[in-house]
């Protein structure tokens, strides 16, 4: 989240699209209800009438996978009616910047931007660039009239997204569409703010990144970034998934969102040169210019005294990707399926149910020599070999199940969607012989280390040279029990030597060797500081010479009245509660909306002598506001200091363009005759490579004419491993179900409560039909399109009698977004048929479910 959960209460308009907070983030509704109580409006755009829709002020249906068409129409609506926030757009975004004169858009080039190479389905992004002046700064037209300026190009691009075209694609009734556009468009004024919430309904598409970009453009146009009650807010699907990405669990980033290098980036110098942006714009802070300090400190945290200036701080020891290698989920499981892995750690996950193409994943697990499953329960992954259709006698995979503690049996931090890092205490002793994950890692580490010591191996140093200073050692040098506070302190970082301020005479001691570093501004690139994650620097600091766990703070003060609660736990970065908050003030530092002042510039007081300073939330950098001497632009993480409407960094276009999902009932894309789906997906190549192309995706609309999507329910968490074992939750949601409209049910002869089979090109599963008014057919391109939906929380293993059903992910295409390779789970094609009559389906007094 750019903002935070509690901040939802400050919004005038809340767009919930691509998520269903009432079911999946129930506590967020506390803040949404508070916004409503203040007169705020909740808008829900969703293929189905969800629990969120049930309490929304406005609901608009949309066919799955057409969000860019819907949002593109919104951009067009805002621009046509001049609803955008002009002062903000001109000063804080790249709207006035001039783009390369040869840049062309899908309207000119039948569905693609300039630079498209059909053969390798990639873009040469040469023309996706700003025109630079002699100093290397983009040329601008603050009047926004130049035909090559971003604003003008944006307007031209989205002029194709008329209400008629858009609604023919999305299936949204025109009046609903306009009502949503008007409600969001009304927040382009300084004293009106809209926020947007999204989750997997936006990300799990072949245009996932562009879905979010489209809304980001809207928020920049309306001046809603940085303001209380504004922002673009990703509702994270797991309690600590924010922490997992912060700490580098994804393949393409190290901790603190520093890129993972490939093998050809062989020295630290090359790394820093390649990944550290420079800014010619004098008013840009260009925060990522500090990257070399964060990387040096990271390497010092990992290799300690073994990291020296002479050996590049151990840069060569850190694992790197092969050049051109993709190590995303889909790529890894494809390789496992092709017999390219010997072993696999499934740590706190259940890929046999959570992965797209789950059926093939189950087969892939059978090609391993060994698998370690760390979990609270046995699950469909650990027991894959005895699952449906498996022949245990033919499976050689040796499976180890390591029982780990649940969250309440251990101590540690948890980072939620608000970037709020809260310390959590152990409530009960671990059950049985289960251990906290960190203890399991500790045991594993010392055993692996011992093997390397004994047997050497190809490359032992990355393990042998690690610092592992997390508690008391036994006589063999092994850490007896891992002290999680020591881990938290290492993440924060230490001074590795006495550090002096040499600008004064005599030099003044800033930090003593072994002291905790106060914040990331103190980090250095010379090896004198360490920090496991620069973003978390400041989370465990010294106060009066004693370490203080900032994450354990529980102060309830609310000085701004906006619910920032600065003394409750700690938020990265630097305890900032709303990021990009410098955009919430005008160039003089006065809040655009004084009633929702996140920060405010207080000029120097000539009487008391108090210096000029920021008041309120921790600002995005201490520099004065833009109009002051040495003033800086607000978007400090962007090299040019402004919000980028023109997203030249992505692989599939600087502006979002509507393409159909890979599997879609629309044979011809009305936006482009030539390119039905995202043109950067190498479909022909993939189809040629795959043994079973329909596993990836299928265009057999005759067999699979119905749009399908998947979702979660309040009662079950992810694949349900934790919740299906809880009888009270299973009682409420006991079984797989498939929801469908009355029209479709009538067409198929299905009654509420019947058992039905859902089939896709990947597989088949059965469940109970819920025939409901909450699903409706769509009028798309003058044709009636049906859509069904189902949850993905069930699995064959538990409930033990098999009555739960199996995972909806058995049906999902094994394909995803070209930027991230997140799978397209939210729009695919199926067919349904009745397999058994109802067993006294329950009907309420309204005759419907």
């Amino acid at each position: 989240m750019t903002n935070h959960w509690g901040d939802l209460k400050n919004a005038d308009t809340i767009l919930v699209m691509g998520c269903n907070p009432a079911s999946n983030h129930p506590i967020s509704m506390r803040w949404i209800m508070k916004a409503k109580q203040r007169g705020g409006k909740l808008i829900c755009v969703d293929p189905r009438f969800t629990q969120t829709a049930a309490v929304a002020d406005l609901y608009a249906p949309i066919r799955s996978g057409t969000d860019i068409a819907f949002l593109g129409g919104m951009i067009n609506y805002i621009l046509e009616r001049n609803l955008f926030f002009k002062d903000y757009v001109v000063q804080y975004t790249d709207a006035p910047f001039l783009v390369h004169p040869d840049f062309k858009m899908p309207g000119d080039l039948d569905g693609v931007f300039s630079g498209y190479n059909e053969k390798d389905t990639k873009y040469d992004r040469k023309t996706w660039a700003y025109q630079l002046d002699e100093k290397g700064v983009p040329r601008k037209d603050p009047t926004l009239k130049d035909p090559n300026c971003v604003f003008h190009l944006l307007k031209k691009h989205y002029s194709r997204y008329t209400l008629d075209t858009v609604t023919r694609i999305t299936g949204t009734p025109k009046d609903k569409c306009e009502a949503v556009y008007s409600a969001i468009g009304s927040t382009g004024k300084p004293d009106r703010v809209a926020t947007g919430c999204y989750a997997m309904g936006w990300t799990q598409h072949t245009v996932g990144v562009q879905n979010i970009r489209a809304f980001t453009i809207i928020q920049l146009l309306l001046g809603n970034m940085g303001l209380a009650g504004g922002g673009v807010n990703a509702l994270r699907g797991e309690g600590n998934v924010q922490g997992s990405t912060d700490h580098g669990l994804l393949f393409h980033i190290w901790t603190g969102y520093n890129p993972t290098p490939t093998a050809s980036v062989s020295t630290l110098k090359e790394y820093n040169e390649k990944f550290t942006p420079t800014a010619k714009e004098p008013k840009s802070v260009n925060w990522w210019g500090n990257r070399p300090k964060y990387i040096a400190s990271y390497l010092k945290a990992i290799y300690g005294d073994n990291a020296t200036k002479e050996n590049d701080f151990g840069y060569a020891l850190l694992p790197k990707l092969d050049d051109g290698m993709n190590a995303s989920w889909l790529a890894l499981f494809a390789r496992m399926y092709r017999d390219q892995f010997e072993g696999f750690f499934a740590w706190g996950m259940n890929p046999a149910c959570s992965s797209p193409g789950a059926g093939k994943v189950r087969e892939a697990l059978g090609k391993l020599k060994w698998m370690v499953n760390v979990n609270l329960y046995d699950n469909e992954t650990a027991s894959f070999w005895r699952g449906p259709g498996m022949k245990p006698e033919q499976i050689q995979t040796e499976v180890f199940l390591l029982p780990c503690c649940s969250s309440i049996e251990k101590e540690g931090s948890i980072s939620n969607s608000s970037r709020l890092v809260q310390w959590r205490y152990k409530a009960i002793e671990p059950v049985g012989r289960s251990m906290p994950d960190a203890e399991i890692l500790n045991e594993l580490y010392f055993r692996v280390k011992k093997l390397y010591e004994k047997e050497k191996g190809a490359f032992p140093d990355p393990i042998l040279k690690l610092t592992w200073d997390y508690g008391e050692k036994d006589r063999n040098g092994k850490i007896k029990h891992l002290d999680i506070h020591k881990v938290a302190m290492e993440i924060n970082g230490y001074y590795q030597e006495d550090v002096y301020d040499k600008t004064v005479n005599p030099p003044k001691l800033i930090g003593r060797k072994g002291d905790l570093v106060p914040n990331f501004v103190s980090l250095r690139n010379d090896g004198s500081t360490s920090s496991g994650n620069w973003l978390y620097c400041g989370s465990y600091t010294l106060k009066d010479g004693k370490p203080v766990n900032m994450m354990a703070r529980r102060g309830k003060e609310d000085p701004t009245g906006l619910g920032l609660h600065p003394n409750w736990a700690w938020a990265w970065p630097l305890n900032r509660r709303i990021i990009y908050n410098r955009a919430s003030v005008d160039p003089n530092g006065n809040p655009w909306d004084p009633n929702r002042a996140v920060i405010r510039w207080k000029p120097a007081n000539t009487v008391t002598g108090a210096p000029a300073r920021w008041e309120g939330d921790i600002p995005d950098g201490p520099a004065p506001p833009l109009a002051e001497k040495d003033g800086k632009l607000p978007f400090i993480m962007k090299p040019l200091g402004v919000g980028t409407i023109f997203g030249a960094g992505l692989g599939d276009g600087p502006f979002p363009e509507h393409y159909e999902p890979l599997e879609s009932p629309v044979v011809s894309n009305p936006m482009s005759k030539k390119h039905r789906v995202n043109p950067t997906i190498p479909m022909a190549r993939l189809q040629a490579m795959a043994k079973d192309p329909s596993f990836l995706f299928s265009f057999d609309y005759e067999r699979y004419p119905i749009v399908a999507t998947t979702y979660r329910v309040s009662e079950h968490w992810q694949t349900g491993v934790m919740t299906r074992h809880l009888p009270w939750l299973l009682e409420m949601q006991p079984q797989m179900f498939i929801e469908m409209s009355l029209e479709l049910a009538a067409e198929k002869g299905i009654r509420n409560g019947d058992t039905v089979a859902v089939t896709s090109a990947r597989g088949e599963l059965s469940g109970v039909a819920i025939v409901t008014d909450r699903f409706r057919s769509f009028k798309v391109m003058d044709t009636t399109i049906h859509q069904v939906g189902m949850p993905w929380c069930f699995g064959w293993q538990y409930p033990a009698d098999g009555s739960g059903g199996d995972s909806a992910n058995l049906l999902i295409p094994f394909m995803g977004d070209p930027n991230t390779l997140i799978p397209e789970s939210k729009a695919f094609m199926v067919n349904i048929r009745k397999i058994a009559g109802q067993r006294s389906a329950m009907q309420n007094e309204r005759g419907q479910s």
Binding site: A22, S23, P26, I27, M29, R30, M33, K34, Q37, F49, Q51, T52, A53, A54, V55, Y59, V713, S714, E715, P727, W728, L729, L730, E731, M732, Q733, P734, Q735, M736, F737, N752, G753, G767, V768, A769, I770, V771, T772, D773, R774, R776, S803, Q838, R839, S840, A841, M842, Q843, N844, E845, R846, Q848, S849
Partner: protein, 246 residues
């Protein structure tokens, strides 16, 4: 002394998350029952001696043609003059008692009730709340968490509710809260109403006709003479006096 208590259940803030339903089971250590998916989210299908709180789901098409989905967190209303107690005093004396401090209506698990007596007790309840275990001969329903309330805690369902749909407190405060919220909600939903606030300690706010939520959401339902009589008893002449006492 604990002042006499009431609930306010604002269904316009209920999102059907069912936290209350699970919390009720957890606090009362009521077992889960084996259920099946029966073509709707509501599960278990009905209240029982193991389910004191049940979110009822009701969907359909509204007058504008848009879908509607209503959530009704059903539970005992803890009537001020409980008809079930009147029937029980006659047919199964001692089985229904009023908690002296909170005025919660309590079914005494120590008192056995005959099937015939239970039939009469259930029939007279305007909200169809009483449930009966034939094996043990005991009745059961919501207890207002008197064991929690007497220790200064909120009822488990109220404590759990994330959206503020469920409130609990001294009766005067709650009634005022309900009236004020009704005024707010009426500005948007003209049909909004409180369900017999003068007669019950669990006051529901509904934005639409009660029958759209559930058959027994309100008392207007005509099921038989006994219930009509019960309704009259709910509006006891001394109700106003009782209200004034607190």
């Amino acid at each position: 002394m604990i002042a006499r208590k009431s609930f306010f259940i604002d269904t316009t803030k209920c999102t059907g998350c069912r936290g209350c339903q699970a919390a009720c089971k957890q606090w009362n250590q009521n077992p889960a029952t084996k259920t099946r998916q029966q073509g709707m989210y509501q599960n278990p299908p009905d209240l029982s001696t193991a389910t004191f709180k049940l979110v009822r789901f009701s969907s359909g098409t509204g007058p504008s043609g848009d879908p509607e989905w209503y959530f009704f967190p059903d539970q005992c209303r803890h009537c001020i003059y409980p008809p079930c107690k009147m029937a029980a005093d006659e047919k199964a004396p001692g089985s229904v008692i009023l908690d002296v401090q909170t005025r919660a209506v309590i079914y005494d698990p120590a008192v056995k009730v005959s099937p015939e007596a239970f039939k009469a007790i259930r029939a007279i309840c305007p909200f169809d709340i009483p449930r009966y275990d034939e094996k043990s001969g005991r009745m059961a329903k919501c207890t207002m968490c008197v064991d929690r309330v007497s220790e200064g805690m909120l009822p488990a369902c109220v404590k759990t509710c994330p959206t503020g749909a469920m409130q609990f407190g001294d009766r005067g405060t709650i009634r005022k809260m309900a009236e004020e919220r009704l005024d707010e909600v009426r500005k948007i939903y003209g049909r909004a109403s409180l369900v017999v606030p003068e007669a019950v300690r669990v006051i529901f706010l509904l934005k639409d006709y009660p029958e759209k939520y559930y058959e027994y959401a309100a008392t207007e339902d005509v099921r038989g003479i006994t219930r009509k009589t019960a309704l009259k008893q709910l509006l006891h002449p001394f109700a106003a006096v009782e209200e004034w006492i607190g």
